[in-house]
Symmetry: C2
Subunit: 157 residues, 2 copies
């Protein structure tokens, strides 16, 4: 028997801390963005769209933001109501919308970004650049592996 699979070890500890850290950072970002009455998800969506002049379909938004497509509907609804994004009919596909950021949305993002970058740098300040690079490579491997495992489990269903 492989006892190591049934008891928490350092890898488990690392995973838990990773999740907790993400929660703390997410909570901090919620407080930061509340100055502009945006939720973290709303900011992420706008921030993603600012580099997409042609916009993006809601399904693609859901994929990139790691959320169910039905959630994108409401998110876009509320942002559209505030005039920060717009739904444009797609030429090639009459099922799909192209969600684009408006000028107003662009302005609010431009106003937030300096504070946002400043905050992210500040959070990560205690980590040396060498360590940051190790971190990126390790975390990327973990993400890839987690993704793969998740799909295996899903397909088995």
């Amino acid at each position: 028997m492989r006892r190591n699979l049934c008891q928490p070890g350092p890898r488990h500890d690392a995973l838990i801390r990773l999740l907790q850290t993400a929660e703390v950072i997410w909570e901090g970002s919620r407080i930061l963005f509340s100055r502009w009455a945006l939720s973290p998800s709303q900011f992420n969506l706008l921030n993603l769209l600012k580099n997409e002049p042609a916009g993006m379909s809601q399904t693609e938004l859901g994929r990139q933001l790691v959320m169910h497509k039905s959630n994108v509907t409401g998110l876009v609804d509320r942002l559209q109501k505030r005039g920060l994004v717009d739904r444009r009919k797609t030429l090639g596909d009459r099922r799909a919308y192209s969600v684009v950021i408006t000028e107003k949305g662009r302005r609010i993002i431009a106003e937030i970004l300096p504070h946002y970058y400043s905050a992210t740098e500040s959070v990560m300040a205690p980590i040396s650049l060498k360590r940051v690079n190790d971190l990126i490579s390790d975390i990327s491997r973990i993400m890839e592996h987690a993704h793969q495992l998740t799909h295996e489990v899903k397909d088995r269903k």
Copy 2:
């Protein structure tokens, strides 16, 4: 002017990846726990209580699970309805409940834990033990710093 605060650098990249990785892992855990009709939050709550024979107040649960205390109310409600936890009146304080895990809750957690530990080890398998230790130390520093920054912003309000 400090230009570096207004442009994304490697530290920003690391932060984003950390958050995305946490989302992917959280999603994977949701699929894992769905076999027992538990949400990740429900599992975390039960898992926390299994080592607390005296139980824990809802406020303390909220603190440890990084969630608002009003959310604990509903979470405990649903778990209590399924007979997995119980609210016990506290002797010393008539305002507070002590939330304890039931025998049924203990059984379900005992059944899940091997799969859970196996899954966490599997996710983190591509990382060497040395790197895991570095990861723990770096992430802990980040969490601590993020926590501190969040409180500063909160107090300024």
